[in-house]
Amino acid sequence: MSYAYLFKYIIIGDTGVGKSCLLLQFTDKRFQPVHDLTIGVEFGARMITIDGKQIKLQIWDTAGQEAFRSITRSYYRGAAGALLVYDITRRDTFNHLTTWLEDARQHSNSNMVIMLIGNKSDLESRREVKKEEGEAFAREHGLIFMETSAKTAANVEEAFINTAKEIYEKIQEGVFDINNEANGIKIGPQHSPTNTSLPLSGSGSSQGGGCC
């Protein structure tokens, strides 16, 4: 299927905050209560529409475990958007946000759009982190913020789509160099001004020029 742009996302955050479940809910519209540990990196993809344009989101879901941190860092590069996730029922996952943010800023490109996500909003009774705290953290660090529930699907669509909108606006403003694949954005083959400048791995697809 053809697309105007492909945006590459990365999902980061402590282990067990629901990164893989958010991805699964967004791509497959289902919830898996028991999820295996993510080792290294997982992938997902979905097409969305912004401003009447087809946009393909390619999402890289990373391992939250400390043991894999060094490997996870090597995936920050080349992402246009990041979902930084914590668990509203576990304060320590919120406390670690600063470390995650430093990591992300250090290893990613400077224009990367970061969405802060407080997940598990369905578990209100076990809440340890107030929504206001999340909002304050986001404001302080210039992030967009939402609380989601991968279980009930509340705000999951919005989280991914709002991030995409932000990236799209930055493209319109000319902030992103869209010809540099390292920024995590690819122009769909049919929208490319010059086909010869296509990124390497983007031209081998078999589905009407669509890539990932």
Partner: protein, 670 residues
């Protein structure tokens, strides 16, 4: 495989195309770009592939669609594309750890842009050999395997005419018929003694019907899986029918109780490092295990019978005294059997290379179970290459590949290697090399010798002679140090015009090439590969012949969860030494200790991932290349790694043996 084909980066502009679900073939235009972009890695070549560079959408069909290894479950082209991100080079691990036997680890990453696709392939297979044996036939086979014990006359006469086994095992079992004596110490034999009369009349087919079952990757079965009852029934019926076609000598013959359905599990891991296209590596990863299954099934009755038998010290001694070792090559520090295969005898106090002579037609020829399994693997490698040769005529199947196979069977580990991938075992704190890197450098002598014997293979452009330096026109008429293929030392030769030809093996170390083109000397494929501007084929200098090494695991009571087999393509080993590899693995394993039951199963995957990470390194900025954590140059080649724990297999094997012994006893009682 990086840099294996010098010219490849400059001249080949095609790859196997993706085959879409609707059957369209789309050429990977990116491939051309990536190869030219990296052309500067090697100097511009004088040679190129003379064929296989113009596959278009209208070319012959693909036999196997390009995929990543099945157990990774990258099911869509989308996912395969993401895994092939040359900028990020994600390290891909199995999504479901349960897809690999014993929670073994696997990890891979793509090259940094030298080819559009990851040309490494991997496969695994958990198979089951089956044979329907009668207790009598088992007794006979056990008798056959006994070494000659002087003064112990044969008690059970066997007439070869009465014994037939399917396919090649027919030969094997006839081979077994010999003048060896039955070891009277064998309890089993004694228990069968009262059945000897029936035995003499028994039908040839009762011991020969086998059922094979091959289960791969996504559909692993446990070794204890019983044969479906309908299958057993059909086999029995078939046997009974056959029995009745022969003159029924006694009604007891038709008793189904006389049949024992036996099975023997085996587990296979394969790594295939492709070059000049992905086609051959894909074919090998789809096919080789099936050929191995077939070859093993042909000797299933012997293997199973052997597996039921206990080895005692006395037999080992006999073997020790009678084994001949023939050193046919310079690279082995281990004992070699007559086939050039290696029995790794690591622990001095453990006779890990127990050899039970199956057949001793002459003093210097011993056929052992090891030799039969090694033979099965060797034959499978050759057959694979032959099949690829045929398929290349009908299908679009580009390039070639190396092959490294691990086979776990009968309590032992067999490593068959043809190429420069490598396998090492780390156990009890020691590193045991389980393979030898076959490269133009290490195989210089074999290749030069072939050039000497068959000068027609060299066209008019290459010389098998090796000079101390490459002679030029200025050297004509002068004397230069040289050595012929048969020489180990050096001598002087007056340079003639003939000597100015290109050396058959050129370059040193990692850069050495055969016919200035290829950097590997063993594996599958490359049948169409030629040096440019000549009709010189490279294939005659390549061979699918594997070297097989054997390690006995059953006897090693000290195996721990940290003892592993590590297999990797050269992308791993070019950067990471054996010692460093072991260090990384042990560190990874410590992160997932046994008391952490939730995470324990991920330890080998994590170790594999860390190994790939170490050799891949990181690329901080575009254009600055990939650097290791020590800030050394990292590999830009594809990397694939297995980390396989040894202890679970040993336990599985011992359980199997125990279970079979009980079954046997039951049958013997009845």
């Amino acid at each position: 495989m990086f840099n294996k084909l010098k010219s490849f980066y400059n001249s080949v502009n095609s790859f196997d195309s993706l085959q879409t679900t609707d059957g369209n073939h789309v050429n990977d235009a990116a491939a051309t770009k990536s190869s030219t972009a990296n052309a500067s890695i090697r100097n511009v070549s004088l040679f190129s592939l003379s064929s296989n560079n113009t596959h278009t959408e209208k070319g012959p069909p693909l036999k196997h669609r390009y995929t990543r290894p099945q157990f990774l479950q990258l099911n869509t082209d989308d996912e395969i594309q993401v895994s092939a991100d040359h900028i990020i080079r994600p390290i891909i691990v199995p999504r479901d750890v349960n897809k690999l036997p014993w929670n073994s680890g696997y990890a891979e990453t793509i090259n940094a842009g030298k080819s559009a696709r990851n040309e490494d392939q991997a496969s695994l297979c958990k198979g089951l050999l089956r044979a329907i044996l009668s207790p009598e036939s088992i007794a006979l086979k056990i008798a056959d395997m006994m070494p000659t014990v002087p003064g112990n006359p044969r008690q059970v006469p066997i007439n070869s005419q009465q014994r037939q086994v399917n396919g090649e095992s027919g030969d094997s079992s006839q081979v077994l018929k010999n003048e060896t004596n039955l070891d009277s110490q064998t309890l089993k034999k004694d228990e069968f003694a009262n059945k000897e009369v029936d035995l003499a009349k028994s039908d040839p087919l009762t011991d020969s019907v086998m059922e094979e079952k091959l289960v791969c990757a996504n559909d692993l079965i446990s070794p204890s899986t019983p044969l479906p009852s309908d299958v057993v029934d059909s086999i029995k019926n078939e046997i009974l029918e056959n029995v009745f076609q022969t003159p029924p000598s006694s009604p007891e013959l038709s008793k189904p109780a006389a049949l024992v359905e036996e099975s023997l599990p085996w587990v296979y891991f394969g790594l295939f490092d492709g070059h000049a296209g992905s086609g051959v590596a894909v074919a090998a990863s789809n096919t080789l295990h099936k050929i191995v299954q077939e070859k093993l099934q042909n000797i299933a009755d012997i293997l199973i019978t052997f597996g039921l038998k206990d080895v005692d010290e006395k037999e080992e001694e006999i073997v020790e005294n009678s084994t001949t070792t023939i050193n046919s090559s310079s690279f082995n520090h281990n004992r070699l059997t007559s086939k050039g295969s290696v029995i790794v005898n690591h622990d001095n106090h453990l006779p890990s290379d127990t050899i039970i002579p199956l057949f001793q037609p002459a003093i210097d020829k011993i056929v052992t179970v090891d030799a039969l399994i090694i033979g099965a693997l060797e034959l499978a490698f050759w057959e694979m290459d032959n099949q690829i040769a045929l398929d290349k005529r009908k299908y679009r199947m580009s390039g070639g590949c190396t092959a490294l196979v691990a086979l776990f069977i009968l309590g032992k580990l067999y490593i068959a290697n043809a190429g420069d991938s490598r396998a090492i075992v780390h156990k009890n704190g020691d590193i045991i090399p389980m393979s030898f890197d076959f490269t133009p450098e290490s195989e210089r002598e074999r290749i030069k010798y072939l050039g000497l014997l068959r000068p027609e293979f060299l066209g008019n452009e290459f010389t098998h002679l090796e000079f101390i330096r490459r002679p030029t026109r200025r050297d004509l008429g002068k004397r230069l140090l040289f050595r012929d293929a048969f020489m180990t030392g050096w001598a002087y030769k007056t340079i003639t015009i003939e000597d100015l030809k290109v050396p058959l093996v050129y370059g040193e170390g990692k850069r050495s090439r055969v016919l200035v083109t290829i950097g590997v000397t063993r594996g599958f494929g490359d049948h169409e590969l030629k040096a440019q501007n000549s009709d010189v084929y490279i294939k005659p200098f390549l061979t699918p012949q594997p070297e097989v090494r054997v390690l006995d695991l059953a006897k090693d009571e000290n195996l721990t969860d940290s003892d592993v087999l590590i297999m990797g393509t050269d992308g791993l080993w070019d950067i990471t030494t054996n010692e460093k590899t072991v260090e990384i693995v042990q560190k990874s394993l410590e992160h997932f200790p046994a008391n952490d039951s939730q995470r324990f199963k991920y330890r080998y995957i994590s170790a594999a991932q860390d190994l790939v990470m170490h050799s891949r390194g990181k690329s901080k900025e575009k254009g600055k290349g990939w650097r290791t954590s020590d800030n050394l140059q990292a590999t830009i080649d594809d990397i694939s790694v297995f980390v396989i724990p040894l202890k679970p297999y040993r336990q599985e094997y011992l359980k199997w043996k125990e279970a079979r012994a009980i079954v046997q006893k039951e049958y013997m009682r009845s």
